[in-house]
Symmetry: C2
Subunit: 205 residues, 2 copies
């Protein structure tokens, strides 16, 4: 299988972390898409993912899977027991819910701030910007950080006692927040401690 991506960007980092957690890194061929040059908005790439975003997983039969959470579903069930997305119905539901909250409340909020209220990837790529909405999403991201901090006051990981895809999404969200200069509120000590712990996982390197 192939992953079309741009290394170092937050969403590709989610899939790389999932690959490492599953021990699948060696089974994937990475294909670089020049996102800073806008290659992800060109027809050749849009044929792979009409949403115009990386990463995309290309299966051996040519099937294209976009959306990090969908790619992680595939990888987590590809071999061995699922370790990132849950096994029981209740685990599956709780992890899925927290993954969504980390995505909409943090990672996507930071992304919207970056693409709408900063120069983002530059005028050739950011062809429509709504700065007011972008600034609002910056606040939402920090509200999201406070929410996640509260969750982590009661349990070691976002969906409970074990590391899951919800943690991957939030970890990439904080990586994006760093890049976009959206600071973690100082009183979010649980979130900072969690980040420190996650950064020590082999999959975070």
């Amino acid at each position: 299988m192939k992953i079309h991506e741009y290394e170092g960007f937050p969403n590709p980092a989610r899939v790389r972390m999932a690959l490492k957690e599953k021990g699948l890194l060696g089974q994937v061929e990475f294909v670089s898409v020049d996102v800073p040059a806008g290659e992800h908005k060109k027809p050749e790439f849009l044929a792979k993912n009409p949403s115009g975003a990386v990463p995309v997983l290309e299966l051996d039969d040519g099937t294209m899977i976009a959306e990090c959470s969908a790619i992680t579903e595939y990888l987590d069930h590809f071999s061995g027991e699922p370790v990132l997305t849950g096994q029981t119905p209740q685990e599956r539901a709780s992890i899925h819910m927290m993954q969504r909250r980390a995505e909409t409340g943090l990672l996507d909020a930071v992304a919207t701030y970056f693409h709408h209220a900063t120069p983002g990837l530059g005028p050739d790529i950011e062809t429509y910007q709504c700065a007011e909405w972008g600034q609002h999403q910056r606040q939402r991201a920090q509200t999201g950080m406070k929410y996640l901090d509260g969750v982590l006051s009661a349990q070691p990981y976002l969906a409970g006692d074990t590391f899951t895809v919800a943690d991957i999404t939030a970890y990439a969200g904080l990586m994006f927040a760093d890049a976009a200069q959206v600071a973690i509120p100082e009183d979010c000590t649980n979130l900072q401690d969690w980040r420190q712990r996650v950064s020590q996982r082999p999959s975070a390197s």
Copy 2:
């Protein structure tokens, strides 16, 4: 189990349709949340779902599961084989991807238009609005309809040959679009045909 919801609204409709597809409707107690009166933004409900949105699934042990896609994960694995979210890794991934596209490109886009560029649920509930972004999302919803129409030109359902949670999400998205007066583009005949077929399922009544 209980579902906290407001009957007739698009997101609660997604979960009711999933319950009917799974034959689980009789196993659920529905608890009405007065969304038009803003009950979903009050502290008592926010303790159940800090996102302030219905529906929420309450399990018998008190666990709260929010986010329609997470609730559907639970219901689809609660009894019997999964019929809405896929069984093989590839099915799971493709369905998950299409569910996300129907959600972000149609249902959520319509919702954002409704809450930001129309009076929405009224001034007491819509305490922040960004009309420019709302109008942009209206366009995005119609672009999303065209995308889904294209998918349906090649296959009977959004994720392939069988009805899945991706179809539920898109069907509720069109229900919301009707309510918000976002018309389906006239040339989207595949989408219209699909909607007609889905409307004839027992779960759509």
